[in-house]
Symmetry: D2
Subunit: 133 residues, 4 copies
């Protein structure tokens, strides 16, 4: 599919930069849209939520793939009606690959203990060519 | 399971009123947490999102059952990378049953054309007894 | 203003029950829509967020008043670029009064240490008359 | 402030690419965290929400400035209790400047009628030097 929006971008933007831009949007969408959702140790809930995030991310422009892992190990059995948790930056791990023209950016969201922060970062960028797409 | 939080409530609250309170919280959680999620006509996405909402609602206190129907009829095939939609008050229909003690409240969220509004309302309340639980 | 939606409700619902229903919706809207917003110890941010929540809640049906207190005491000064927090069930305290016909329900959202949970509960309900409105 | 997270990034990432990455995160945070908030034509609500978004964005890493304009022109006076709207991709316009090392990326979120889409795009990127920071 062609990109009817490319004309709105600064013309100096390369495919590599655009792929990075799209990967960042995906991670921030996932974090800000899905964290806070009530979850428990119910395996069906965890796997349907992972699938929902994966396929929801895929609807957005230029997303090549999205891997989502919700770490259920830290969730415990319900002892009273108020005993459940929420999806948060501490229990989600996401890898998104965005492709634009000849470039592919792999970005990651995961909790980094050192800075006590759910960091979004670029793991790898590949370009088949360095010319603009 | 007993309710360690009942002591915080106004003691004049009946089971019937508490069931209504809990059903309202469920509908508003679903509306305000899940609308805005990017969706397409992909049937796997729609059904995993319905399942996620249903099971996420079930984690919360005093929810008996949750039915979710996302109306995919209005979603069309992707023509360009920007062609997708979001879960909204116009394409979701939810029925929640909350039970507290001897009372059961059935509440509904659906778009009402007359007022152009995703209305939350109480369809039915049943009490086995009218005494407090 | 009259209520064009009252006909959708179970006819056995009293004004008191409707006020409780509307108060619950307000608390759950505030919790599920606003938690997760990035915040810092910046007093202008905290007070504009409190004002935003208060006035946003007021736009919704049958809300009489909303008090919001964000507990900034627990927020510390920024030491690195990743040092900030989010609005959460641990740092927000909300009181909503909903009125319907002759009844008024006061509901509260605050973190209860005993159950380690941001509890929504009904503090008080008042009815001028016990008949239906 | 130094950046304790830079070591997690692909070492080939330039300052210019990092600034683009951070600007994209800001726009997607604003869109996915704030849309859906109930709003009306109340000028105090609109301006406190604009201020909240602006200052909330500023708490996040490497944000230089954020301009937010909510287009209240399309909001009408309340005729019944259900007559209000929500912040959405159609009524928000955001410009974010992110700076990293010697580079500055200006990104924009606004509704583009041609594609009927709230587009996020890069308006301009400036680098004082093209070497890595």
């Amino acid at each position: 599919m062609s990109d009817p929006a490319s004309k709105y971008f600064d013309p100096s933007i390369t495919d590599r930069e655009r792929a990075i831009f799209e990967a960042a949007i995906a991670l921030a969408m996932i974090y800000h849209k899905f964290t806070g959702i009530p979850i428990s140790s119910d395996k069906r809930l965890i796997s349907s939520l992972e699938e929902t995030i994966r396929l929801s991310s895929a609807t957005q422009p230029f997303k090549e793939s999205t891997d989502v892992k919700i770490k259920t190990g830290i969730l415990k059995k319900k002892k009273n009606p108020y005993d459940y948790t929420e999806l948060s930056g501490r229990n989600i791990d996401v890898k998104v690959v965005a492709r634009y023209g000849g470039a592919e950016a792999t970005a990651r969201l995961r909790f980094i203990r050192e800075i006590s922060y759910p960091l979004m970062y670029i793991e790898k960028v590949k370009s088949r060519h360095n010319v603009k797409g």
